[in-house]
Amino acid sequence: MSRFHGWHEFSRMSRARSNIQFLSQSLAKSPQPVYLLDDRRILQYCNPAFSEWTGLDAGLIQGARCDYHSGLDGNEVMRIAAGLCPPPEVFEVGALSGWIGFRRADGSSTRRLAHFVPLSGTADDASLLLAIVAPHDMELKSDSVASPVLPATNQLHARLRELRHALGAQYRLDHLVGDSPAAQRLRAQVSAAVQTGVPVTICGPVGAGREHVARTIHVARATSHGGIIPIDCGIVDGASLDAALEALQRSLPDAGQPPAVVSLLLLDLERLNSECQLQLLRRLATVGPEVSLLATAGRSPLEMARRGEFHLALASALAVIEVELPRLVDRQDDIRLLTQLLLEQQNSRGQRQMSGFVPEALSLLAAYPWPGELDELSQVVNESVANCAGSMVGVGDLPASIRAWGQAQHRMRPVARRMVYDDAVAELQRELIAAALARSRNNRAKAAKLLGLSRARLLRLIEQLGLDAPPLEGDPVIDVEVDSPGSPRDPHGPYATADPTLSRPKIDAPAAASESRPLFWEVDDGGEHG
């Protein structure tokens, strides 16, 4: 039986080869591009006009399989082959016309109408599909969907291919610019994420371009034929999560279709509520390797899981690799480069062309702390370009907020201060005691009560912190305190003066502020003082 089947197959293939040889002799001189596909959509023959149109030698493209997808594959032959695939209906309904086209290596695109004719003799014959391509490019308009020769889905498919390529062009690895160590580390992490294909979570502050990096990884993964389905975890609920996951399921290829990988992008993962976390975990258990998982988060999901703030199994499933986005303030060396990049992106969108920022403006931008991260920088560049009348953006064209910040910095003394733990604690103690003393009108017994300290301890702290002050009238002196040279009660010390007002503690307590926003609750001391 199997020997008979093998002979049958061999015989069928031989007939197919002889058919192709016969056809190729007839079609070689055709001025229109012509190609032949077999029933497995493998390109078996193309004529010289076809090679001229595609720019590919027949030897390169023959043998390639034409799959019907609108992916972003980097391999030129596969990309062109995908663009030549006829609408799948042709194998069911017979001859029809459809759009074919592809983007060339130089970025230009071509789109032509093709007529597809199935060629088959008896049932035993291997079927072939002849594609006769129009001699010139044609324009595809979305309002011609109702054209009688074309199935509407074919036009949508053709348009989807173009749109996806155009969108994909925005997300390229070379857009992750910067020479700083932080930028280099980011590029290395992204490259690793691209090469491995495992689930990736991009962690970083809001506005740092987390979604951009995630989409860049999606585009750069060579197997990403499929699309990307983003889910905003901050607003999603059970029903909308289900709808999105069903859309993901529908966009996966059916059995018999070419393999494709679709990315699921979870935005602001830390905002996903616990119910949806469980729901997502259950659904992810059923998806295969054809779904690539990407997520963005403000904090590491694994770290959140360790603190009990996130489902551990879900965090482990989503954060196999964590890419950490640096804050813009930590890569100030890159700000000049990023500013120029954003400006040139503006150039690529608009009519008006700008050459750059003047050095003074760039210096100001490089010094700014950028609390809003890259999003803020992008907004500042857009606003500056809109304000600018010439071709170079000057300091005067920068938004008022940036200029005001620069002027404020210019007038302020630079404060170079290093954090020292003990100093910081002492400063805080000083602030609290000063505020309590101000509140209690320098009554230390009352101040101690306000602070929840014993009076003796407060006095010790006052002395340690240099807030030393003589007791006010009515402030009783207790025996535990030992007078020492220089202390308030030392008659020869620095506070020894006849004028009691001069010996008040030198505390600039914000009395007005403490009245408007009380730091301490009133203590009912029953009219006693100490």
């Binding site: 979305s142 309002d143 969907v145 109702a146 509407a152 889905t153 949508l156 498919h157 348009r159 989807l160 749109l163 996806r164 969108l167 506005g207 499929g226 699309g227 990307i228 389905i229 983003p230 905003d232 901050g234 607003i235 999603v236 609920d237 029903a239 909308s240 709808a243 999105a244 859309a247 529908r250 966009s251 679709v262 999003d375 857009n382």
Partner: protein, 157 residues
């Protein structure tokens, strides 16, 4: 006066979605603004940059509307949009989601799901510097001409 940074904008021709949204109970009904063209959308987004935009798309206009949505999500990073599509566009759903649509509704039965998404998005951007009473007032939603002037209310009380 505290102006909300977010609105629910419905870009449609015939108004069936706007009427349905107005008919829903709850605060969302008060945030609905029906618009009929991109020129109307732009200034509204400029004044409320975190709005939720629901766009009606059909076989003729889907491409231009998607281009506009892409531009607005680029220019106003906090804007979210959903597509109100006709069934002809089912093959395009992956694309709608790919460019950032938070949901795609095919008919009015999907209104509840969209409403919940819109409510949660608008809640993220409600004015934060309000006291509890003002927050309650804000939750009710107000037409612009009847919106309470919190500053005056506070001084008056």
């Amino acid at each position: 006066m505290v102006e909300s940074r977010a609105r629910l904008l419905i870009w449609e021709r015939h108004g069936q979605w706007s009427r349905a949204w107005h008919g829903t109970s709850g605060a969302i009904a008060w945030h609905v603004h029906q618009v009929r063209g991109a020129v109307e959308v732009e200034p509204l987004l400029e004044s409320a940059r975190a709005s939720f935009l629901a766009m009606e798309c059909d076989a003729i206009n889907w491409e231009s509307r998607c281009d506009a949505a892409l531009k607005w999500t680029r220019d106003y990073g906090q804007v979210r949009f959903a597509i109100l599509a006709c069934p002809d566009l089912i093959p395009m759903e992956p694309w709608f989601r790919e460019i950032g649509a938070v949901d795609v509704a095919w008919d009015l039965r999907d209104l509840g799901r969209l409403t919940r998404l819109a409510c949660r998005h608008l809640a993220r951007y409600r004015p934060a510097d309000l006291n509890p009473v003002q927050r309650c007032l804000e939750r009710w939603g107000w037409l612009p001409e009847f919106r309470p002037d919190y500053e005056r209310t506070e001084h008056g009380s």
